[in-house]
């Protein structure tokens, strides 16, 4: 069991360590390189679609990584670099979709559904709790009949 866990931990760690950014691509300036990484982790590789360009080994991901580094070296801000990529490939390249009218359903849909569900549950619970209070107590005649029935069954 312990060996299995160790193996599992090692496997998980290697996946984290495996990065597609190649040594030759790295910028000499560590500050710029770390900005390039920050940008790269937010951009989707369009060939593999579920990996960031930093994780992907695809040729296109390499091209976009180089494009990002070129722009950063030229003095662009992070936002300007990301915008330049979005201008070419569309908002789909952003792994985290922007909050804009087209994505309102995406961002606010789940919380809205949750709110509707909670509200419905609350209303339902409230009604169920208050329901017994609404019944009128048995009249003297009904009590007598009920007692009679119970006794009759017992006998």
């Amino acid at each position: 069991m312990r060996r299995f866990l160790l193996l599992l931990a090692m496997l998980l760690l290697t996946t984290v360590a495996a990065r597609a950014v190649e040594p030759a691509e790295r910028l000499a300036d560590p500050a710029l390189e770390s900005r390039a990484r920050a940008i790269g982790s937010q951009l989707r590789c369009l060939v593999c679609q579920n990996e960031s360009i930093d994780e992907s080994g695809a040729d296109l991901a390499h091209d976009i990584r180089m494009f990002v580094r070129e722009r950063l070296t030229a003095g662009n801000t992070n936002a300007a670099v990301i915008q330049a990529v979005v201008d070419r490939y569309g908002a789909f390249v952003l792994l985290k979709p922007p909050v804009e009218p087209a994505t309102y359903v995406l961002w606010y849909g789940p919380p809205a559904l949750l709110a509707i569900g909670l509200l419905g549950t609350l209303v339902w619970l409230k009604r169920r709790q208050s329901a017994p209070a609404e019944t009128t107590p048995l009249s003297a005649d009904e009590t007598r009949r009920l007692d009679g029935l119970i006794r009759g069954n017992d006998a």
Partner: protein, 178 residues
């Protein structure tokens, strides 16, 4: 009112089911992304010509609508598309220009020499920079550009007889008229 409230889950379900019916229909290619470049000016390019001293430049192409095809010798779907391009060039005489995307010029030349050259002119984009500016994410991709240099349409993946008949040729005809 209360009855209507109980119908709400059904309405939500039908809404979602309807959406999935459209979004997951088998004919829809989920890999096909809408281009953000439609109705925008094509990014400027000035590429060295393939086996041709004349460069392939956007400014020189403006004035008439034209079709720009990104291809590569290493690209298998391009071979599928190639006979169709040959027919478009020889029978329909469409103004077809090629960009050899991330390909060694010698390989592109060999491809065109052995399978035929449908292009009026070919530019070399060996580092893929022009492709990046266009938002190309896989070859082949085909763009229809109007006389002012504005992108009208993008085809991702190989053109088919159907997409040519139904979309490419009618669009070109319409652009020629205007």
């Amino acid at each position: 009112m209360k009855r209507l409230f109980y119908l709400l889950p059904l309405v939500l379900f039908l809404g979602l089911a309807g959406y999935f019916l459209v979004a997951l229909r088998p004919a829809r290619d989920v890999r096909e992304l809408p281009s953000v470049m439609i109705d925008k000016p094509a990014p400027s390019f000035d590429l060295a010509g393939l086996d041709d001293p004349k460069p392939l430049a956007l400014d020189a192409l403006k004035g008439h609508p034209f079709v720009l095809n990104f291809f590569a010798s290493w690209c298998v779907p391009c071979r599928v598309e190639h006979p169709l391009l040959m027919r478009l060039a020889s029978e329909n005489h469409i103004p077809l220009y090629g960009i050899a995307y991330k390909d060694k010029p010698a390989d592109s030349s060999r491809l065109l020499a052995s399978f035929g050259d449908p292009y009026r002119q070919v530019g070399i984009d060996q580092d893929g920079r022009v492709g990046l500016d266009f938002g190309v994410y896989g070859v082949p991709e085909t763009y229809v550009i109007d006389s002012k240099g504005v992108i009208q349409k993008r085809f991702v993946g190989p053109l088919t007889a159907e997409s040519v008949e139904k979309e490419l040729l009618p669009l070109l005809k319409q652009l020629d008229r205007s």
